[in-house]
């Protein structure tokens, strides 16, 4: 009997493990807001999001944004004369290979009517290619890196600002500081990522032209669990300005912890992502360390845009919290839905070919502001904002200085723990 038992156990273990692996890689969930049962078939929308892995925090914020949009649409009569929308969300585990498989499954196997983009440039690049192969429009909210536009695909519509230029207002502000206040030296540690590096390098170019000497510019492997030695090298340079090319909170936190250990306080500190994660960032670094840190983004809860204000209200009503708790990722996802809703309304169709043609020739408006797309899907009229953590754990929009709600910049950054 024993061999039988062992064999059974072995097979069970293999099957269970395989099932769990598959579940973690491509496990799906569907969500829709029924809002009443109409007889018309729902419009199926496929999405791959990072529920686990490096982008899990962003992926979950995206999920909220997409679900909120679906709820809104379904409670307002649906699309195309009353058809509800139904989201089919698969987990890509933040993995470029899995995301490709997910979109292939959604389109070729599940035969969804439409697809929405995933989180990050890294995952958008392979996904957009899949969508293009099947002739699907690919509206997306977090794939604004040059790598996406370099594909030259006509089915991509990046509703958020192109990321290569997002730090430009910050770099121009530094360059315009009086010589006595302007940093003399700068360090640019970056993770190897198509989102983080172009943005950092664009800022580096502007600052070098303004006479800010580069004393450190290195790219770290993306899957690096230990930044201590690299951060100590940055600290040893004594650079007065640091821009961390990051994609998540842990990377920025690792640098801040190492800088604090070395009693190294750059006068100006910015990161490409991480500080935009609100409470998650504060929880990791503490309010005393957050003050003075800059981060770029295309949206903030106080944006003077009626669509945005409605979105914030709806978000807080559904998920609780205050406007300050609304993550920009959710707004980016919501913008994708709004873009598609306008295209469907404009064409009275869910034919992807028709939608692609319409989006190339018509402007749209989302919670992030206006959008108009170039031939390769870049939103050429998107607004760019720079934010800064300020005293009292306040996340404030500081650049452009003239934008509504903009507040004065805290400069220089207080010493670690003193903010």
């Amino acid at each position: 009997m024993r061999p039988h038992g062992t064999r059974f156990l072995t097979l069970t273990t293999v099957a269970a493990s395989a099932a769990m692996v598959l579940a973690s890689c491509g496990g799906g969930s569907s969500s829709s807001s029924s809002g009443g049962g109409g007889s018309k078939a729902p419009i199926m929308i496929g999405v791959s999001l990072s529920q686990t892995g490096d982008f899990s925090a962003d992926g979950q914020a995206f999920t909220r944004g997409y679900n909120l949009w679906a709820n809104y649409v379904n409670s307002h009569g649906g699309l195309l004369d009353g058809r509800k929308v139904k989201l089919i969300i698969l987990n890509d585990n933040s993995d470029p290979t899995t995301v490709q498989a997910n979109y292939t499954k959604l389109i070729a196997s599940d035969h969804v009517n439409l697809v929405f983009g995933p989180f990050s440039t890294l995952l958008t690049v392979p996904s957009a290619k899949v969508a293009a192969r099947y002739g699907y429009a690919f509206p997306e909210g977090a794939g604004g890196g040059p790598a996406v536009f370099q594909l030259g695909l006509r089915n991509v519509f990046a509703v958020s600002p192109p990321i290569a230029d997002q730090l430009v207002p910050f770099a121009e502000w530094v360059a315009a500081l009086p010589a006595s206040e302007r940093p003399k030296t700068a360090a640019y540690p970056m993770v190897n990522d198509p989102f983080a590096d172009p943005m950092t390098q664009t800022a580096q170019g502007i600052l070098q032209k303004a006479g800010v000497k580069t004393v450190y510019a290195h790219i770290f492997p993306a899957e690096n669990p230990d930044y201590k030695a690299g951060a100590d090298q940055v600290a040893a340079t004594g650079a007065q300005l640091v821009i961390v090319g990051s994609v998540d909170v842990p990377t920025v936190t690792a640098f801040i912890t190492a800088f604090e250990q070395q009693h190294y306080n750059p006068k100006i500190f910015a990161a490409t992502a991480g500080p935009d994660q609100g409470a998650a960032f504060l929880k990791a670094v503490g309010p005393g360390n957050a003050t003075g840190i800059f981060v770029p983004n295309g949206w903030y809860p106080g944006l003077a845009n009626s669509l945005s204000q409605q979105f914030v209200q709806a978000y807080n009503a559904k998920y609780g919290g205050t406007p300050a708790d609304v993550n920009a990722d959710s707004a980016e996802a919501y913008s994708v839905g709004q873009t598609v809703a306008q295209a469907v309304a404009g064409t009275k169709s869910i034919d992807n070919k028709v939608l692609i043609a319409w989006l190339h020739s018509h402007p749209t408006t989302t919670v992030q502001g206006p959008a108009r797309y170039s031939g390769i899907g870049m939103n050429v009229v998107a607004a760019k904002f720079i934010f800064q953590w300020q005293h009292g754990a306040k996340f404030a929009q500081v650049l452009p200085a003239g934008a509504p709600g903009s507040v004065p910049i805290v400069n220089p950054k207080p010493a670690w723990g003193q903010g």
Binding site: L9, S56, P221, P225, D226, Q261, V285
Partner: protein
């Protein structure tokens, strides 16, 4: 340049101590049970979360909290061994244990996501950011206390495990089990108990590694994956099953990586694994290979 080199070597040696804290349990479990515990990375994260709960919600100092987290992780280890590893028998036991421990990792990751969410947290204490100055100049260099304490704990743990293995009755049972489970059973050793306790000890030491890891890095349920490949590389280089080898390999690997970081961080990871291949080419059993370790 010399200054950078000193810093990198110090960073590497002390950082190696931190990795050793996480790797020692992994190599101990392999040495006794021939199980490569893929769940070790997520167990480090679980331990970090336990320290986080004690620190944030009960305001217990991170080191004092080890009095709770070490026994708690021991129980977690024993439970995993009894529920998932003990039932595995036969010729495919080793490969099945890989799958079983991977399944444990996935389950734990899911539980941690459900309990703590996807956001990251970090452990805080005065000794995380404070340190002692060892190099002067315009930008002095400080040795953070957490690294010093972590390295000290790593050496202490290796010493304690050595004493347990080589100076106690239980250690003799463990070594007998390492050499031949059937023979050990024939001379009256309760191999099942030895296996459970050893697995428990292997997981319990991750409580220390998890606490130090969580103090130095923001982490969430996903953070274990970046760790496990490095931990595996370290115990292979040190010699599977060798406790001292894990410490030596961790210090060697992290130091090499830190030094290469000076010139090119993107090459540091490559060199990390290239060093592994190079050493294994010359000495396939690692620095302190299994045969040598068991012959001590």
């Amino acid at each position: 340049m010399a200054r950078s080199l000193y810093e990198a070597i110090i960073d590497g040696v002390l950082g190696g101590g931190v990795y050793a804290l996480m790797a020692v349990g992994l190599t101990l479990i392999f040495g006794v049970l021939d199980i490569i515990n893929i769940a070790q990375g997520i167990l480090v994260v679980l331990a970090a979360y336990l320290s986080y709960v004690l620190s944030v919600h009960l305001h217990i100092d991170l080191f004092l909290g080890l009095l709770v987290t070490v026994p708690a992780m021991f129980l977690v280890g024993v439970t995993i061994q009894v529920l998932f590893m003990r039932p595995l028998r036969g010729r495919e036991r080793v490969s099945m244990s890989l799958l079983a421990s991977y399944a444990v990792a996935i389950i734990l990751e899911g539980v941690l996501y459900a309990v703590f969410g996807p956001g990251t947290v970090q452990l805080n204490a005065w000794y995380v950011t404070k340190g002692v100055q060892v190099l002067g100049g315009p930008q002095p260099y400080y040795l953070p206390y957490i690294y010093l304490f972590g390295f000290g704990l790593a050496v202490l743990l290796v010493g304690v495990i050595y004493v347990v293995l080589y100076r106690t009755q239980f250690g003799r049972s463990v070594r007998a089990t390492m050499q031949d489970q059937t023979a050990a059973r024939l001379i009256g050793i309760d191999v099942g108990r030895v296996a459970a306790v050893t697995f428990g000890i292997g997981v319990a030491v991750t409580a220390v590694g998890g606490m130090v890891f969580g103090s130095l890095n923001a982490f969430n349920a996903n953070s274990g994956y970046d760790l496990i490949s490095r931990l595996l590389a370290i115990i292979i280089l040190g010699g599977l099953g060798s406790i001292g080898g894990a410490l030596a390999a961790a210090v060697f690997m992290i130091t090499v990586e830190s030094v290469v970081d000076i010139w090119s961080p993107s090459w540091s990871v490559v060199v990390f694994y290239a060093a592994l291949i190079l050493v294994l080419t010359v000495k396939p059993t690692g620095l302190f290979g299994k045969r040598e370790a068991r012959a001590q």
